[in-house]
Amino acid sequence: MKKTVIDFLLLNNKQLNKDNFLLVLQSPIPVSDIFPGQFINVEIKDATEIFLRRPFSVLDVDYEKQTISLLVKILGRGSRKLTEAKEGQKISAIFPLGKSFTLPDKNDRILLIGGGSGVAPMLFLSKICGLDPDNVTVLIGARSSSDHIDITAYQPYGNFFFTTEDGSLGEKGYVTNHTVFIDRLTQFSKIYTCGPDLMMKSIGRTAIGKSIFCEVSLENMMACGFGVCLCCVEDTKAGHKCVCTDGPVFNVNDLKW
């Protein structure tokens, strides 16, 4: 897969809830294969003090329409500016970047756990993993019901469960307190997760304890996104690895968790 710098056209920018936006970007050329966990590095134009690009996971791809969808959560200056972009605007991005999750085997029963903007690669994985929806369980956590995004379009691909810290949707608490996680974990052959560091660490350690295959998608401050600056390192059992090229997806057994 050749990496390229492309001027996308912002086809659609839809606010999903207070902080989350769905951006649909159209490429002028056919998009190459993209898999869940891979990301694109987006230029934020006309924003003073923003110098570097910002990484965002791919939420969906439509090869026919040549579009890539992103789920953008406002976290700081750059993400806010991006969500203010107008339809019809050009947005430069470098893609496809990073390694994807290992796609499950035919007989796997998988658990996907997403927190915050980490749901993006989980929804994408549920859609393209090629499993019987009965074998796909998706657990999504957020602070409150208003922080959850509408996942109706993904509902056919798996069994969805929710947690909220205030109990306003699904079970109250963190994803690691959910019945699926507490009582049914050993039913799964593979766990995939993306979200806040503490959430992934807690899931990862549990998976290691129960010897269940587990992959996590790490976040990191990136300058280039394609492996030349060596800024984005995670200290793994094999030494410093670049999150942008050796990851962002790592097997928990390779991490110093």
């Binding site: 050749k2 990496k3 390229t4 710098v5 230029e43 003073t48 003090e49 923003i50 110098f51 570097l52 690009r53 430069s92 470098i94 990191n220 401050m221 990136m222 300058a223 280039c224 996104g225 394609f226 492996g227 030349v228 600056c229 060596l230 800024c231 984005c232 390192v233 995670e234 200290d235 030494g239 410093h240 090229t245």
Partner: protein, 303 residues
């Protein structure tokens, strides 16, 4: 047709545009984005005698118009370079230059001797200016006697093109440039990153694990141009300029101030195709100004 060719000592560069050490990996990482044979030269990631893990995370902070890095020369060491990387990149159709780093003079010498054996490495860039390592690094580049001592020792064992990369973190960069020229440097390159620091107001903690780091990007450009001009006026050897070059105009400004060639660094993170845009932009500039040879631009500042 305009002539973009320039000479840095024994190197005939097809054009004055190179990529800067630590910002283009070993070339392979940017090969997807453009044809590397278009480059005048490519300076590979800083290499040391032994494997180095580099500094702890976080190693990067964004700043207005630039960034701070504290990578700390992460690399797998020269043996790995020779065994695994060199065979893969040696036939690239551009000048490959290795950026050489040591903690002691003996290390600089030993590393240079190893690289001397490699046919397809016509030049080294001696980094006496890295602000992100505890021993050696910048310490050699901030005083004339120590800079002279390293260059003298390396010159004894190296007969190919020797470029010395200078630190901007000094009172007079021209003096250091003259000192290394006196010891037989064939060219000087400047600037390496400027020592900087970022603080997180919420946590009252430094942003970088090393507290201080190296500033690069457009924020440093005026300082870099000033230094190129000062050094150009102080030495006879060709000057290679860098620091915040983002486009062809920036590159031409450096050349007018006295740079024979330029290196593109941090700009690659924003757009890895920038070197090609700069080469094309220089050509267009020359056509527009009816300049035959790019050499006519070098040091053409009119005060």
């Amino acid at each position: 047709m305009v002539d973009l060719g320039i000479k840095i000592h024994n190197l005939d560069l097809k054009n004055p545009v190179m990529t800067a050490s630590g910002t283009c990996g070993f070339g392979e990482e940017i090969a997807d984005f453009f044809d590397l044979s278009r480059l005048g030269g490519l300076v590979v990631k800083g290499t040391t005698l032994k494997h180095r893990e580099g500094n702890a995370y976080p190693r990067m902070a964004e700043t207005p118009s630039g960034m701070l890095n504290a990578v700390g020369l992460q690399n797998k060491g020269v043996d790995n370079f020779i065994a695994n990387i060199y065979p893969r990149i040696k036939d690239m159709d551009t000048h490959l230059i290795v950026n050489v780093n040591g903690s002691t003079i003996e290390e600089y010498v030993a590393l240079t001797e190893r690289l001397n054996e490699l046919d397809k490495i016509p030049a080294i860039e001696l980094n006496i200016s890295c602000p992100n390592v505890k021993e050696g690094g910048m310490a050699f580049g901030i005083s004339c006697p120590s800079a002279e001592a390293v260059v003298k020792a390396v010159r004894k064992v190296y007969s190919k093109t020797l470029i010395v990369k200078l630190s901007p973190n000094v009172t007079s960069i021209a003096e250091i440039a003259k000192a290394v020229e006196g010891q037989g440097a064939d060219s000087v390159s400047l600037i390496n990153t400027l020592l900087g620091m970022a603080v997180n107001a919420e946590t009252r903690k430094p942003v970088l694990s090393t507290i201080t780091g190296g500033l690069s990007g457009p924020a440093v450009k005026p300082i870099a141009i000033r230094m190129v001009w000062q050094v150009y006026n102080a030495v006879k050897i060709p000057v290679i300029g860098m620091g915040g070059i983002m486009n062809a105009t920036d590159a031409i400004e450096f050349m007018i101030a006295g740079a024979s060639a330029i290196q593109v660094g941090t700009a690659l993170f924003i757009d890895p195709t920038i070197p090609v845009q700069i080469i094309d932009g220089i050509t267009q500039y020359m056509e527009r100004h009816k300049i035959q040879s790019v050499n006519e631009i070098i040091g053409s500042l009119q005060c």
